[in-house]
Amino acid sequence: MSFLDSIAAGLSLVGNFEAFAALFVGVLIGTIAGAIPGMSATMAVALTLPFTFAMEAVPAILLLLGVYKGGIFGGCIPAILIKTPGTPASSATVLDGYPMAEKGQAGKALGMALWASCTADLISNLSLILFAGWLASFALNFGPPEFFTLILFSLTIIAGVSGNSLLKGALSAMLGLLLATVGLDLVYGTNRLTFGDPNLMGGLNFIAVLIGLFAMPEVMSMVWDPKPHEGKARGLGSDSVTFGEYKRCFRTIVRGSFIGVFLGSIPGIGAAPAAFLSYSEARRKSPNKANFGKGEVEGVAASEAGNNGVAGATLIPLLALGVPGDVITAIIIGAFMIHGLQPGPMMFVLNKDLIYGLFIGLIVSSFFLFFIGSLAIRLFKYVADIPRGVLFPGVLVLCIYGVFAVNNNIFDVGVMFVMGWVGYVMLRNDIPAAPFLIAFILGPLLENNFRQAMLMSGNSPEILFRGPITWFFWFLTLLTVAAIIRAGIRATRSMRSKPGAG
């Protein structure tokens, strides 16, 4: 199938009202959710997932991708207007966005955030289209030992970089892997940790675990400390961004986009570090570096380009290798599975039309984002005024309906509640939840590939070192562990050297 044939096949899947409407609604929901302080893009995608069960695969996935992209952009609106990032990825936007709002230039800051976000989103989507296919064709040579080492590497990096401590990240991943062993054994079909309960034979419901870990702790945090609204929304001001300013910041935007693409394609890093790295690079290279932190429009452009550059790139490992790069792509992999699809290299062979359909949808999403973003900037006040005392009980009820709808099983609601408390305890103890969820998803794959490799080799572990690909991933795993340990030791030393430490 030629490139043009693939595009035509993709277009035949997405070239209908339902698909584009789903994408549009997704971007709209994401932008609104991202703009509500306390709701994150992750929570928005998780809560939207149950609504996609009754949909066809392509509109369902486009809806979720739209929520993802909208959510990442939407976070910048409260970051600029009320100094409260809607999502962690928008934290860097506060640095210059809010000082601009204080100077009466909120409209300009939001305008630049929108232009930078859409440009970065487009660059990220194009990178996805360029690299995912190439990576997938390379990954077609992978067998069980290669997949085992790849997943091991992904888990190592996710556990290492998701929180402040490698050990806590590793503990979180280990708990996720342990939880993934619940259910019938993959090879022999015997019971594992089912405690005689037939509800556990199929393993724990992924959606219940996911919503429990990511949405419920937010409700619990609100119950622990019921806070009213934070901050006061500022007016947009009369200034708006000009083409000259966009042109001046274009280089920064492109640089930030590529930083986002690079960091986004590595599992586990996420949008917030990309935004901060892009911001610091922009400040280092800018002739206006003295203005950074005091309301420099280039700072807003850099941070928004950095975090939006991640959005398309996180789909590279997801689509090409079947490895979710972050929590949101972990949720999206769940949507693929619910619709009977398994992301990975074989998808580029068996479902090429779907892959190209998603690519087309993603490109269109950048334009939808621009349109919806322009409206959202003006209508933010109404979104920000949703009282938290009504929002969070609504989230709780939505979680119950959504989790029940997966299997029509009340047991899953119980699993969600229990996982909610687990997630809350983890939150209170600075144990990152992302490695838990990703390990929970990758656990069966890791074990299955390991056991297949052992069966292939007659139980010889040498097969795990059988060729350059496995060696490459072992090397990367060791390098990651060494780098994280080194960074930890350095951080400890620098803290010790500070006066008053200890």
């Binding site: 015997t190 940790l193 009504v390 009820v397 309906y401 803290m495």
Partner: protein, 160 residues
Amino acid sequence: MQRIKRQSLIGIASIIVAAVLMFAIIPTWVSSPSNVRNIVLSPLFWPYILSGLTVLIGLGLVVTGFFTTDPVEPEQPAISGGYGRLGILAAIMTLTMFALPRLGMVWTSMLIFAATAFLIRTSHPRAAIICAITVPLVLYGFFAHVASVAIPQGNYVRLP
């Protein structure tokens, strides 16, 4: 030092959980066929390996918790009535599990919504009551009539 102690406590808790898994739960609740020739392929292998690794990580947390001299950030101040509210939320969740099959999802959700809204001291009680009634009904409409999900109706009042 509170945070450091907490890290060690997390480590100790992980070791205890892993030990309980290794010595009590896995031997009892993971069944393996008798004809498995190699331990590597046994259904027991993976849970034991993961429990063992959890012990190692727990030890790492204990050691780093006791011996590092990291300056610790101040502990989050205890919020007045925080534990009490969390206890009430836990009770709401437990009651939900009992109420869902008996009262039905819509009526239970209305009660949960209202209870949670007042638990978090909503400053908009009227809006909360209106939403407590409308949100579960709208969700019921979507899931039951659009997504064709059999929402539990309970034993008392059934919705169309």
